[in-house]
Symmetry: C2
Subunit: 324 residues, 2 copies
């Protein structure tokens, strides 16, 4: 795709997913790397046409000493040049890291907390690209997932939008180079993540030897599968509400009319509503008792899913369960 098309392509993505409405304020998350610099400039070039206000935010992770501060100064200069407001946060990732938290995971969590704290109903645009999406889909597949994992990174979720999600890193580098945009080495690209590094540096290059348009192929897959997933969730939600009884249980007779794949989704939703961790085996067991019309399962500590008098319900308290 020629660089001049990045703007049009991003505009299409924004419109296709109804990301931005007239009068909205969009805060672009800018690390200073090529992806986020391109994001900021493309949004800047679209803001009058699409009628939104633009701001930026930057998170200093304080992980690379002077280099981190220099990235922050770079972003400050850029925003001053474009005359757009900038929100910054300084985060000591290493101090706030919790047990079992990878550096990348912790930084991600803190970044999104910061986004939430500044957004106040405004949109946050992140610079995730088709390359990130492809990696995420492959990681989900390898670790084990159902359809939802193949959807990859959502183009829009709540107030987070990802206008670059269907463009590749190559599109972005071309755009930066043709528009003489300077950028720093992406400071959010911490990638201490063993799995993501292996996928990015070893698996993806092999797959690109098979198909140089890998990212486009996976992007199309991700979009088409996301539509399928949304539709199936809609059908499942509707049936789940139809089955809900006055006493907030579920009519097993109605649940049993569902196709296998819909029933599995309904059970997954019931689990989520009751803080039961997602677990394919437990979901299958629960589908089993629904099909049988009776039984109870114990999907995790302090939770029982039980069928009584043709109604399914979750018991969340041990004592209460004993009394029943």
């Amino acid at each position: 795709m020629p660089s001049s098309n990045l703007k049009n392509s991003v505009k299409n993505t924004i419109e296709r997913y109804s990301m931005i409405n007239k009068g909205d304020t969009v805060i672009a998350a800018v690390s200073g790397g090529a992806d986020s610099v391109a994001l900021l400039y493309v949004l800047y070039s679209l803001k009058d046409e699409l009628g939104f206000s633009l701001a930026a935010c930057h998170v200093n992770h304080n992980l690379r000493g002077e280099e981190s501060d220099s990235d922050e100064r770079f972003v400050r200069r850029m925003c001053r040049f474009l005359d757009i407001p900038l929100y910054t946060a300084s985060i000591k990732v290493n101090d706030l890291r919790q047990k079992h938290d990878s550096l990348e995971e912790c930084a991600r969590r803190l970044r999104y907390d910061f986004f939430e704290s500044i957004s106040k109903g405004r949109l946050i645009a992140t610079a995730h690209t088709a390359s990130d999406n492809c990696e995420t889909i492959l990681i989900n597949m390898v670790r084990g997932t159902a359809l939802s994992g193949i959807c990859g990174i959502p183009a829009k979720r709540d107030n987070i939008i990802r206008p670059l999600l269907y463009n590749t890193r190559e599109d972005i580098e071309l755009y930066c180079s043709e528009n003489c945009l300077d950028y720093v080495t992406d400071s959010t690209n911490l990638s201490d993540d063993y799995t993501r590094n292996k996928i990015r540096h070893k698996v993806v290059p092999l797959l690109k030897e098979i198909n140089p348009s890998l990212f486009s192929a996976i992007s199309r897959l991700s979009q088409s599968v996301s539509d399928d997933d949304r539709y199936l969730d809609k059908i499942a939600s509707e049936l789940m509400e139809k089955a809900r009884t006055a006493d907030n249980k579920y009519d097993v007779g109605i649940l049993r009319t569902a196709d296998e794949c819909i029933l599995r989704r309904i059970v997954t939703m019931i689990f989520k509503d009751n803080d039961i961790p997602p677990n394919m085996k437990a979901v299958e067991s629960c589908v089993g008792i629904i099909r049988a019309g009776q039984g109870k399962i114990n999907p995790c500590q302090f939770r029982f899913v039980q069928i009584r008098k043709k109604k399914l319900f979750v018991v969340t308290d041990r004592e209460k369960f004993r009394r029943n």
Copy 2:
């Protein structure tokens, strides 16, 4: 999974997919390799319990001279030992290979032609495993696919059944070793296919470093996604029939009630029925004219899809199209 479970696991697969009914005859396709030897023995151990008759077939591809003949003798001896009928075919793959046909693709085509010629309504069991399925899914993903490609190799299609599809190569080798089953190097494993070789020998080992249970993870994904795909196809077929008019066109008003992902499937089905090659862009264009309620597209040579008087139809003849 301990070896003793292979039989139970295969029995579960057979029952879950209603592969075999009492009184059926199953012809196992046996190359002599570990996978197909395990398939033959597992089916042999299940035939009385499930009430089916067992036969075998073997294709000599004549690609490795004396080695090919020796494989055939090996299979003959095994079937004589088990006292089951054997159908054999001798195919000169190299002579019958067509332009643009890879050796593997050609051998595959000839093998399935042979299966069809001998089956006469009986079932053919092939020895595809979770490892084959994982490779196929990765290949489809990399080359570009929608949901259907993530379903992988179907467990059952027409009279072809694949009882080992959810077992791994490791399960099979363990079964062979614990049951002292001898086997030859799989003669169907031609693999001159550049893509499959790269996936099998380079990509899969890297992914297994990330998750040693890769094949199980992909198997579960394949099963769950196949259910989703089947359900969406059912919904699409039903709406397509509802939209079909007396003059064998499609009522655009009815088509437009469909969700995007269902409409895409309906268009794909209409394309297939009219010998229009699958092509995502053409499908999107067709969805576009349906949403617009008017227009025509030319998805391939000698085919036009057109909307007139709120009905969609395919014109398959150029002259006829001109006259319209």
